[in-house]
């Protein structure tokens, strides 16, 4: 779709530069002339929102790193120093901690949108897998970032997650010790987590570049799930159409972000993390951040530790295989009535697991968590392959333009 660039520089200097490094042409073909399906809805603005959030996280994070001290005895105090004594330090820190939550909120909407409209299907398998890699890098980055304030919950979280690796047979305990840099979570652990928390976002940037590149090779999917046939009829140029729509959606998203940062900045933070980490005092009730709760619920739902850890990683890794687990040739749920139902059941399973992950373990909670875990894996491993074989899909429109005309025609 993004064939040879049609960009022609106007100035002599521009021509001189373009013949040596065609970067202006690249920008022009990627963000100005790039054809965008004309039927995209607002769910397609989350890519832009996520780009903004990634940049915001990096800028606030770099500033916080100027004042933060990654040492077990000073980390907690340095965060309070940022909150109280650094000019607008409270703003940087609240933007960063709540920014992580907003980043995950946006990425979950982005991913569920991809599943609902079958965005992972040919020819976008690589695009989807790159997205899953970004998501896994994000969870690793967020987990290590949560350890840095060195509060009681940071310490407990670091202990729980790194101890997962001790479930590996034979070498497990050695792996845990190697991760900790000692016999328990301590100073060396905090130092390496800080180092990696600084590194991983730039790896995310790298994979995001590949993700956008792959996107611009095969073009965007769209709510009707039919490929672009006629660029004239089916698409609009990225600028100004998508640019203004993305900017508007980002602004609206920022209202939500600002609400959290300025009025409920501690809503998503655990009170226990305002207590300094103490290896001798474990919080009564260990919970991860909200965006990891469904996986935590899956981990706790399984009685065997190794099986629980495998299920946790499988829940993440299976997402990369969606393009082959889903056997239906029809992309959009709009034309897949049965898939639509299973999709929403899957969403309910994820939200239910998230809620249970935040609750204390009881027999009934474990039972419900097991049922919902079966729902989660059942959707990926049973419903998706089987539905493609037996589902009676609705007729798909011949082209994007036909779908748009059918909609506007019906409306008028």
């Amino acid at each position: 779709m993004s064939g040879p660039s049609t960009f022609v520089p106007k100035s002599a200097l521009g021509k001189w530069f373009e013949s040596r490094l065609p970067i202006m042409g690249l920008i022009h073909s990627s963000f100005i002339a790039y054809p965008v399906p004309r039927n995209l809805n607002y769910l397609w603005t989350f890519g832009a929102i996520l780009s903004f959030m990634l940049i915001a996280q990096i800028i606030t994070g770099v500033i916080l790193a100027m004042h933060y001290v990654p040492s077990a005895s000073l980390a907690f105090l340095s965060v309070e120093h940022i909150m109280r004594d650094v000019n607008f330090g409270w703003l940087m820190r609240y933007l960063h901690t709540n920014g992580a939550s907003m980043f995950f909120l946006a990425v979950y909407i982005h991913m569920f949108r991809g599943i609902y409209f079958g965005s992972y299907k040919a020819p976008r398998e690589v695009l989807w897998i790159l997205g899953v890699i970004i998501y896994i890098l994000m969870t690793a980055t967020a987990f290590m970032g949560y350890v840095l304030p060195w509060g009681a919950m940071s310490f407990a979280g670091a202990t729980v997650i790194t101890s997962l690796f001790s479930a590996i047979p034979i070498v497990g305990v050695s792996v845990s010790h190697w991760l900790w840099g000692g016999y328990a979570v301590g100073d060396p652990t905090l130092n390496r987590f800080f180092s990696l928390h600084f590194l991983l976002p730039f790896m995310i940037v790298g994979v995001v570049v590949l993700h956008v590149w792959a996107l611009h090779v095969c073009g965007q999917n769209n709510p009707d799930g039919v490929e672009v046939q006629n660029v004239e009829r089916d698409t609009v140029p990225f600028t100004p159409y998508a640019t203004i729509k993305d900017l508007f959606a980002t602004c609206v998203f920022f209202i939500l972000y600002a609400w959290f940062v300025f009025f409920i900045p501690n809503y998503l933070l655990d009170a226990d993390n305002s207590n300094i980490a103490n290896p001798l005092v474990t919080p009564a009730h260990i919970v991860p951040e909200w965006y990891l709760l469904p996986f935590y619920a899956i981990l706790r739902a399984i009685p065997n530790k190794l099986a629980g850890v495998l299920a946790l990683f499988a829940a993440l890794a299976l997402l990369a295989f969606l393009p082959w687990l889903d056997t239906s040739p029809v992309k959009s749920a709009k034309y897949r009535p049965a898939f639509k139902v299973f999709f929403w059941v899957f969403v309910v399973c994820c939200i239910g697991l998230g809620y249970l992950g935040s609750q204390e373990v009881t027999d009934s909670a474990t039972l419900v968590a097991r049922i919902l875990s079966i729902g989660y894996f059942g959707f990926l491993l049973v419903a998706l392959p089987v539905l493609g074989l037996i589902e009676k899909t609705k007729p798909i429109p011949a082209s994007i333009a036909d779908a748009v005309l059918a909609k506007t025609g019906a409306a008028s």
């Binding site: 159409y241 203004i244 900017l247 609206v252 809503y267 305002s274 609750q359």
Partner: protein
């Protein structure tokens, strides 16, 4: 299709009810939740009530400070968004404390000197460090500087959803008020209605009339508890007022910008159809 949808919604509601029910069973029947108080610093326009913070500081100084430290510098008490004491008052207050100098004297001995506004409140005289407190009390009383952020109670479903919209952030303050008013068994000084499990390490610290206010506020436990909770909320989050002031402007700006963007978007897309 409609039947599909209704059954789907029904199953979703059922799943949520199951999850909610699970939470309800887990609740201890004789463990009431702290009552929600009215705070001047709640909500979008919230600011601290200076007189209340000054009274709260008096409660801290006369009662809490016997056992609890408060690791904030004296100078912050002059903060105009906080207690707003005058510079002279803060200077005099700091000088009334003996703090250990950071460096030893020329004989190599650590020595005490009168405090300055830049110094942090020293630990209680009785307990120069946590080990001393553990030896005397069995458990070290927590540092109070972050106490209002470090305490919570479970809000439960659906309250935690509503809390997003009415900007409820005073969970810790409400918890502190509840604890101070929770000593309802006069025969057991360490029984607290609101403390999880009821067995609290701190014996009842304050009762009616323990502190004499100078501004005419009735010297009751209820007032003490609210004033100290407000003071500790400021101590835990001294930038709250600045944050809310800036936040209001940011949100208004974003709403105006979004509106303009919306109409621009509409105008541009009008050509596309």
């Amino acid at each position: 299709m409609i039947r599909f949808k209704t059954s789907l919604i029904a199953s979703a509601i059922l799943a949520l009810m199951m999850a909610g029910g699970v939470a309800a069973w887990a609740q201890d029947a004789d463990q009431p939740k702290p009552e929600r108080q009215r705070w001047s610093f709640n909500g979008v326009f919230g600011t601290f009530d200076q007189a209340q913070l000054q009274r709260g500081f008096q409660v801290y100084k006369e009662v809490c400070s016997n056992c609890h430290r408060l690791s904030i510098p004296f100078r912050t008490l002059a903060d105009s968004d906080g207690p707003g004491f005058s510079e002279a008052q803060v200077k005099a207050l700091a000088a009334s404390y003996q703090v250990v100098n950071e460096d030893p004297n020329d004989k190599g001995e650590m020595f005490k000197r009168p405090g300055t506004p830049a110094d942090v409140f020293p630990p209680p005289d009785a307990f120069p460090n946590d080990a001393a407190a553990v030896a005397a009390l069995g458990k070290a009383p927590p540092d109070m500087w972050l106490l209002a952020k470090a305490r919570k109670y479970e809000r439960g479903f659906p309250n935690f959803v509503f809390d997003i919209f009415d900007a409820y952030q005073e969970v810790g303050a409400d918890y502190i008020v509840a604890i101070l008013n929770g000593y309802t068994h006069s025969d057991d000084q360490q029984w607290n209605l609101y403390y999880p499990g009821h067995k609290i390490a701190m014996p009842q610290p304050i009762t009616d009339g323990a502190v004499t206010y100078t501004d005419g506020t009735p010297p009751t436990l209820v007032n003490y508890s609210k004033d100290i909770a407000a003071f500790l909320s400021w101590a835990a989050e001294p930038t709250l007022v600045e944050r809310k002031k800036i936040g209001l402007r940011v949100i208004i700006f974003l709403i105006v910008l979004s509106t303009l963007m919306y109409f621009t978007k509409k105008r541009i897309w009008a050509n596309a159809h």
